[in-house]
């Protein structure tokens, strides 16, 4: 056997053609691990968002963020199971590049947008997540405030799960606000306490990172 084959081949769990199967008779779509998948249309998401705004008023974004956090915790648990089943290693022992590749594919296959992680400030306790074409910004249209609270919640739970720390996540840029991509800053929750206020008052992403550098976790 060649040296190449001694290492386990690592196929893409999310590969096109292999990831989703629909039983058209039953009307049931499952991914290759058996998890049932339901498609949500932009109509649903717009309706969901409007209903929350009607019911909760200014608290709607916060409710969506909570929803994202709950969803993210479940998503992390499922990601653990599915990755362990496919790659035969726990996610916690996965090589970082493989983890990033699979997480980006999970987001893309879920229709969340294209995720890129930036670990340049990881030694200072800050990770930046960039999402191109995030689902909510894509359907809300123009907004003067960041609108990807669900994704912020998902990222917060996801990275808290894997870091074992209580992380926070603040959206600093948003495509719906005219930014090129949506950006999110992840750091210890206490350290991010002031960040939502900075975003609210118009402080930019780079300046927020500079300010966070001065607040050590």
């Amino acid at each position: 056997m060649s040296a190449a084959l001694e290492l386990r081949a690592r196929s893409n769990f999310f590969a096109e053609g292999a990831y989703l199967k629909t039983d058209i008779v039953r009307g049931v779509t499952r991914n290759r691990a058996g998890t049932r998948i339901v498609a949500l249309t932009s109509d649903f998401l717009v309706g969901f968002r409007r209903a929350l705004a009607d019911e909760c008023g200014p608290a709607a974004e916060s409710v969506m963020n909570t929803f994202g956090r709950k969803w993210g915790a479940l998503l992390a648990k499922r990601f653990d199971q599915e990755m362990r089943g496919h790659y035969r290693v726990p996610v916690s022992e996965m090589e970082m590049p493989l983890f990033q590749g699979c997480l980006a594919e999970l987001f893309a296959r879920s229709g969340f947008g294209r995720l890129t992680l930036d670990f340049r400030r990881a030694d200072r306790g800050v990770v930046v997540a960039e999402i191109r074409d995030p689902f909510m910004a894509g359907i809300v249209g123009v907004s003067d405030k960041p609108v990807d609270a669900i994704l912020a919640g998902i990222l917060e739970s996801f990275f808290s799960h894997y870091s074992g720390e209580a992380l926070g996540c603040v959206q600093t840029e948003c495509q719906a606000r005219g930014d090129e991509v949506s950006r999110f800053v992840l750091a210890l929750k206490d350290r991010l306490a002031e960040a939502p206020g900075w975003v609210e008052s118009g402080v930019g992403h780079d300046e927020i990172l500079r300010r966070l550098d001065k607040i050590r976790g």
Binding site: A4, N12, A15, G17
Partner: protein, 165 residues
């Protein structure tokens, strides 16, 4: 991702095939023996082609070994995996199939590992040359567009902020 056959049948939704569609289908069907023969030959020379490509890359990137655990073993494994997907695309005559199944995912991984687009272009360019030397010109003509698309797609990511090659 649609095979040539499925693409033609889906385009002909609710009607019979046109003469042009029949011709396209027959042209693809008649090319299948050559595609399969090329695939068999590539499978035969895969290991030595990968080794030849990596020998050249080892010479050009002497630091790579020290920057990644089991660097060359993993490179060899991934190169073989990529080649098998390239070959599947060639058999199906589908330039997008391998990207959707493997390349978009794999390029996120190589980018996250600090590998540069230039390294990918060099490594898979060497693989393309190693294969060219080991298969017939007709077989290479079938493979080449898929190998070129592979190199373009796999290397289409920004320079890493800290290169590890």
């Amino acid at each position: 991702m649609r095979s040539r056959l499925m693409q033609i049948l889906e385009d002909a939704d609710c009607r019979h095939l046109t003469a042009e569609e029949e011709s396209a289908l027959l042209a693809y069907a008649s090319s299948l023996p050559q595609r399969l023969q090329a695939a068999r030959q590539i499978a035969r020379v895969e290991e030595e082609s990968v080794r030849a490509a990596l020998d050249e890359i080892k010479r050009r990137y002497p630091n790579f070994q020290g920057l990644h655990e089991r660097a060359w073993e993993k490179s060899s494994r991934d190169m073989a995996l990529v080649l098998r997907h390239v070959v599947q695309g060639m058999i199906a005559d589908d330039l997008e199939m391998a990207s959707e199944k493997l390349f978009y995912w794999l390029r996120t991984i190589v980018a996250a590992a600090g590998i540069t687009p230039g390294f990918i272009r060099d490594a898979y360019g060497e693989l393309r040359e190693a294969l060219r030397a080991r298969i017939t010109a007709d077989q290479y003509a079938l493979l080449e567009p898929h190998m070129t698309r592979c190199i373009e797609t796999l290397s289409d990511f920004p320079e890493p902020y800290k290169a590890a090659v």
